[in-house]
Symmetry: C2
Subunit: 431 residues, 2 copies
């Protein structure tokens, strides 16, 4: 039997990246609540499992020109707080999930625990957490740190951070603590609501948790990583993982490695694995080609390596990526399908063409075939899809893919009743 | 000419206080988004200026029995995160404001600055901030502190905290930095978006601010205090102030003192002053009496001094309040209309009767008269109104007071177009 795939929509509360906002047809308005409500309703209609809100807490700066490129091109800047958006979208939908990125490095765990619990209630159990440890120097500087804590330290802090949250979410209130018994006047049983008294290397939190147990108990845990440390962390915590690889064979190997790590750790199964794809759907193959080209037509080449802290205007275009060094971020330098022995010019052309082994392009039937094939070849459970501008890929997905995917058993039928995000994804248990 | 008064609705994301949730007619559901949307629409219809969300970050504990009373009676517990609610309510209303409490003591200022800016955009300029410095030991313990920072230290930190926020909100982006010019490809002018490079005694924050200037620039500043230190802080920062006093004459004197302080500090005028009233409206005076009585009928006496950390079950009812000491809070012990030389039993009876000089009770016309009279006698600009249960006071206000207040010029007419909260309140400038 074909296993239904999962789809999430990659979002940030920003005009876009690398100047794509300039497309004259683009009506995206990242600070307009009604714009977002329309997007959420579209994605629900399209059968997406969740909106996935990425986030960072600083600006992509380059060694050569600071924040100039990000400010000018609206390259992941400005960037609003995604948590503030969720309740409006939840009120306008009934089964769409909301995965929100939050860092374990900068915010007191007590506040984050309460926020997620409240949102899990307000969404009826449709909230997920994309766990990140932060990787930008420009973010660290906004929190009084002159430089980032090291990669390994950040993961150690993250482990304890999650330990604190889980004590609040899962241990502070016993399962039958909540009584709401008007006759006896007992709202909750004081013997079953407890302080957690956590005292660890990094955090001291007493509790009790301020919110009664929520529909999912805790948010669904997502993570995005491709590093070894990240994989180890994912095996300890993640229910779903976003990862990338140069090509499907490498991705298959990564997923197998994850399976092995999960077995070794005694997990029932590995996390669900999602990968990003570049998607373009047309009535004809040629129209799909034109749509893919349109996604990068208004991209500004200047800021394409701003992700890595490099202002390419200062270098000859035949400079090799291997001769450049990242700046202000712990992220590795981007490559072309896994190769670093390419020049800036090669990278620009590659970025413009959007042609990677994860580009899925064609008529609706062709695209469905390719999606099914990618999943079968790699073991992927789901796809993360961005849309550079609005209207864009999501409208095409809703109009042309949703029914076809369902007809082939590649997308779950619409939920008859509201459904919790964890029930919808049915990830393996972590422990 | 009569000056229109302002009305805010006191709210917390909690079942209530002192066990009032037990009223069999009560349909309040603090974790149901649709419940809150209904309340917001009701309050907008009633002509309220704003919902005022109070908040604390701990539990009211007593020296004698810890959190027992708060947990059992649902006494301001459980308690969700009010920020998560705003966007859903903003989408369902057009002119109602949302004042959210946030502490300057526990959260990194960079995060709070971004959250308020995002919400000011999403609400179209209808956000306010109730600035608190926190006063509960049980909250401090949730943030790794064994005891609270002192009252004076908290205000010093708060001054710097606000300084950081204002640098982010008002200085990081120049007024004409935002260009959004698709032709030139300039989203914002890099020369006009700057780091703030704040390095103070308590905070180091580099910036730039991640969100473009919002409709109001910054939230409207509210504060709630009656202490001298609090008044000084309010003169430095607040646009509106919630304060309490034993009787109208004392309140009038307080407001005059505030006026003097404002003049001395060179402010154009004092902050707007709001006070809480106990409101009950009936078709007859007798029905209003019955409604007032109903507000406390399901109150549990046991927890009435839990606010101050005292479990009255452990003391004879003739114990004087002056012989008790607060526990776990910097709040002064509650009194009866300013008097502490009363017993626990006196206090219980007083609390049950809800009869203070700020109780406004009667037929609609009587109530309008009393509200007008209270404002005239004290100089008050507005009233903060709670409703113990739902349905309750707000429905009566909308049905019976709104039109009458408007007919007398005591309530502004409905806004013809969406209006920003600061424009609606028109407070005096701080500087």
């Amino acid at each position: 039997m074909t296993k239904p795939l999962h789809f999430t929509a990659f979002q940030m509360l920003t005009p876009g990246d690398n100047g794509v906002w300039r497309d004259p047809q683009n009506i995206r308005n990242h600070l307009d609540l009604n714009y977002w409500i329309g997007q959420a309703q579209l994605l629900e209609r399209a059968g997406f499992d969740a909106m996935f809100f990425a986030d960072i807490l600083g600006v992509f700066e380059t060694r050569e020109s600071g924040a100039e490129l990000s400010v000018r091109d609206a390259h992941v800047f400005p960037l609003g707080d995604p948590f503030t958006l969720v309740s409006a979208l939840a009120a306008a939908t009934r089964s769409l999930g909301f995965v929100v990125t939050a860092s374990t490095t900068y915010e007191p765990p007590f506040l984050l625990a309460r926020r997620f619990s409240t949102l899990d209630h307000f969404t009826g159990g449709r909230i997920g957490w994309n766990i990140v440890t932060s990787y930008l120097d420009s973010a660290a500087a906004n929190f009084g740190l002159t430089e980032q804590v090291t990669h390994a330290d950040r993961y150690a802090r993250a482990d304890e951070y999650i330990e604190v949250l889980e004590k609040l979410w899962l241990q502070s209130w016993e399962a039958d603590a909540l009584r709401r018994d008007k006759a006896s006047g007992v709202y909750a049983d004081p013997a079953k609501v407890r302080a957690i008294d956590h005292r660890g290397a990094h955090y001291a939190v007493r509790g009790p948790h301020l919110v009664e147990p929520s529909p999912q108990g805790r948010p669904v845990y997502f993570q995005a990583t491709a590093s070894d440390t990240g994989f180890d962390f994912a095996i300890r915590h993640a229910e779903a993982l976003y990862t990338n690889a140069g090509n499907p064979e490498q991705l298959k190997a990564s997923i197998e490695r994850l399976e092995g790590l999960a077995r070794t750790a005694g997990r029932t199964a590995r996390p669900l694995v999602f990968a990003g794809i570049n998607l373009a759907i047309g009535a004809s193959h040629a129209e799909a080609e034109e749509k893919l080209e349109r996604q990068t037509r208004f991209r500004n080449d200047d800021s394409i390596l701003a992700w890595n802290g490099i202002d390419i205007r200062r270098y000859p275009r035949d400079t090799r990526l291997s001769d450049l060094a990242t700046y202000g971020t712990t992220r590795p330098l981007r490559s072309v399908n896994g190769r670093h022995d390419v020049t800036i010019q090669d990278y620009i052309e590659h970025t413009r063409r959007l042609r990677t082994p994860f580009t899925v392009l064609g008529t609706p039937d062709e695209v469905v075939d390719q999606i099914a094939d990618l999943a079968a070849r790699t073991g992927l459970d789901g796809f993360n899809i961005s849309s550079a501008t609005t209207p864009g890929v999501y409208e095409d997905f809703a109009d042309h893919l949703t029914a076809r995917l369902r007809a082939r058993g590649l997308l779950a039928p619409p939920a008859a009743t509201p459904i919790r995000l964890r029930d919808r994804l049915a990830p393996a248990g972590i422990r």
